[in-house]
């Protein structure tokens, strides 16, 4: 099996599996006062510490959630709840993940005003965001790295300039595709809120985290037993939280080494793809090396995907779809229609090898030989 769909999900590492299984057996509730509860509470605290350390944040600024979708929803609806009576405008990019895009659409229905910044020739400029910000703006939410193309947005410049213009405006960043891939520090980024997911960093599905700057108060959306310091009630999933912590412990020290390693693979892949007939690299040159999106004109994504699947090579179809539902992200980035239909997304991890890339390329060459072009 050659797994090249790491932006969708990643293989849990041995450390996270071990941490998880330990707390499958030790089943105490962190809120219990007895010994078993204390042990569970310690596991949760340790994981919180790992994530806080990785982000150079305080442990009290990390809240566990069920997934990044919940983190994004909490950040956005929480900010709207806080400011909604006085201010109505949110500034965002036009290429957000659905877990940001859809909550914003929902807020629009409730009378909020959403300004979506488009890239110019595939590039985002901080001044476009800043210019869109006015007295009515209370939130700027912008992803760190786009999940379809790997485009890295100038979040740091955007947030700093926004804060410079108006300190009151909240900044939120969905760092799912950047966490543990870039050395993201909360202070440097200037973010009030960050959303993360565990299963994108070699831990398990069902757990995510939200960072909230301690100087910011976000009203909570879920009420109950007062877990997560009253912000996000619900009994903690100790095994999953432990897995998240273990994975972050493992990945945090190797960010730059892995970045370099994956960069070499990405360059190789880009060069090989560029040499194929009718090909087009959709990802920008300076994007994340972890994501390489490309198109082979005339071959529909889904067909190529299944052709690769025959050789146990797993990639993603880049969210494009032939049945009239084109990816709005690809359109926003200006990918021409005839290429958008045949987009494949390869997303790498440090576990991938040169051979993986070469097998993929040779499978694509064979597919181009064997398959007839669609119209």
């Amino acid at each position: 099996m050659i797994y090249l769909d790491n932006a969708a999900t990643t293989e849990p590492c041995a450390e996270s599996v071990k941490a998880c299984s330990e707390y499958f057996r030790e089943f105490g509730n962190p809120s219990s006062l007895h010994e078993m509860g204390v042990s569970a509470a310690n596991a949760v605290a340790a994981a919180r510490k790992s994530i806080a350390t990785a982000l150079k944040a305080d442990v009290n600024e990390i809240y566990f959630t069920s997934c990044a979708t919940e983190s994004n929803n909490t950040a956005i609806f929480g900010a709207a709840k806080k400011f909604g009576k006085r201010k109505k405008t949110i500034v965002t990019s036009a290429v957000e993940h659905p877990s940001v895009k859809e909550p914003l659409k929902e807020l629009e229905k409730q009378g909020f005003n959403v300004v979506r910044i488009m890239p110019k020739d595939g590039v985002f400029y901080a001044e476009d965001f800043v210019n869109a910000v006015d007295d009515d703006t209370f939130l700027v939410t912008c992803m760190y790295c786009n999940n379809e193309l790997g485009t890295v947005l100038p979040v740091e410049q955007i947030f700093k300039a926004v804060k410079h213009k108006n300190k009151q405006i909240l900044t939120h960043c969905d760092i799912v595709q950047g966490f543990m891939k870039y050395p993201i520090k909360v202070k440097t980024l200037g973010a009030d809120m960050l959303s993360m997911s565990a299963h994108k960093v070699n831990a398990f599905k069902g757990i995510g985290a939200l960072y909230i700057n301690s100087s910011v108060h976000i009203p909570s959306l879920i009420f109950g037993g007062g877990q997560e310091r009253g912000f996000r009630s619900g009994t903690e999933s100790v095994p999953l939280i432990a897995s998240f912590g273990a994975a972050v412990d493992k990945l945090a020290p190797t960010i730059s080494r892995r970045f370099e390693q994956v960069g070499i693979l990405a360059d190789l892949l880009r060069n090989e793809i560029a040499a194929l007939p009718d090909s087009r690299i959709n990802s920008p040159e300076n994007g994340s090396p972890y994501i390489v999106s490309f198109s082979l004109k005339g071959y529909r994504s889904e067909i190529l995907l299944h052709k690769l699947e025959e050789r146990e090579i797993y990639v993603s179809s880049g969210s494009a779809c032939s049945k009239g539902k084109k990816s709005s992200v690809l359109t926003a980035f200006g990918i021409p229609d005839e290429y958008a239909d045949s987009t494949l997304r390869v997303s790498l991890s440090a576990e991938n090898t040169r051979e993986d890339i070469l097998s993929l390329v040779s499978a694509l060459k064979d597919a181009q030989k064997e398959l007839l072009k669609s119209n």
Binding site: H306, K307, K325
Partner: protein, 399 residues
Amino acid sequence: MMKEIFLCKYGEIALKGLNKSTFESVMVKNVKRRLRRLGSFDYWRAQSTLYVYPLDAEIDMDDVMDELKRVFGIAKICRSLEVEKSMESILSDTTLDYLAEALDDASTFKVEAKRADKKFPYKSPEICASLGGKILERFPHLSVDVHEPDITVTVEIREKYAFVNALRIDGAGGLPIGTSGRGMLLLSGGIDSPVAGYMMAKRGVQIQAIHFEAPPYTSERARMKVEKLAEEIALYCGDIAFHCVPFTDIQVAIKENCPEELFTIIMRRLMMEIAQRICEKENCSCLITGESMGQVASQTMGAIVCTDAACRIPVFRPCIGLDKSEIVKIARDINTFDTSILPYEDCCTVFTPKHPKTRPIPADVEKAQNSFDFEPMIAEAVVKTVFKIFRCGENTVNI
């Protein structure tokens, strides 16, 4: 202990003449086959009504209702309370409690009485008046309206028992499956073909389905989607025999040997040819498609003429006169819509020409098709066709 029973009123069957009992027995057989899963029942027929009498206390009456609602041939279903054949029982609290569900939310009502047993000592108007009086006493918020009541309470005096009901639900209508022969449905995975299958089944046709797949251009998921659709319409159509034809080689051959603008029309003709050969094997006497006049290039009058020229048996297109919105409405009603819109590539979309001929000339099409010898490929496709059966009410495909 309240005893409930279902009264299934026949639709069109009631109007049949000397062959009525043939239709009736097919319908009863269909009902029995469906309800077997749910427990044991007694059945009897009288006066164009099928009585379904649950024998186990554990039977979930809502499940029974759901099944009955999908049996073609039944026009109305009444869930009724069985009471002793005496005036006291009919007017008892048990009866009024039973009617409360329907009457609580209504504002007007009337009572109708039917005396199948004319020996019953009270006449219909007397029964109506007494029960109506009782109801008014118990539900003071109601008033009587004999012309347009919200709820009609019906009392039926039958041979052994009396039945009281207030809720009558529309059945599926149509004719019992199997009374109109067998047909082969071309099931693509779109919105229209499952609806076409449903509509023909409603007229009593026993449906089989045929699907053409073109791996690697179409995926496992695309086939599963179609199988799921077959399973979904099986809830109405009864067990469905499903034939999956490997079609890749033929599509590639058309693409390589025939003019691009005729690709779809020749593909349709070859599909029809293969479907007819499977029909011969399976004793199906017609083909059924989801085509709607003018919807796409292959469904224009000209294209349909060209397609039908390749057919030796009738092709029924029950959606032909429906707008897309009307087809979608039926698809939603029969619960196939959500599956139909799953976004997988299907064999009809992969090689769609940019500019298909909307007015193909039959002679041209025939000439183009005859320029290549498709016969060996057709024969091979028929041989390699995979057969499966989807049983009504069994959930096997997960997608």
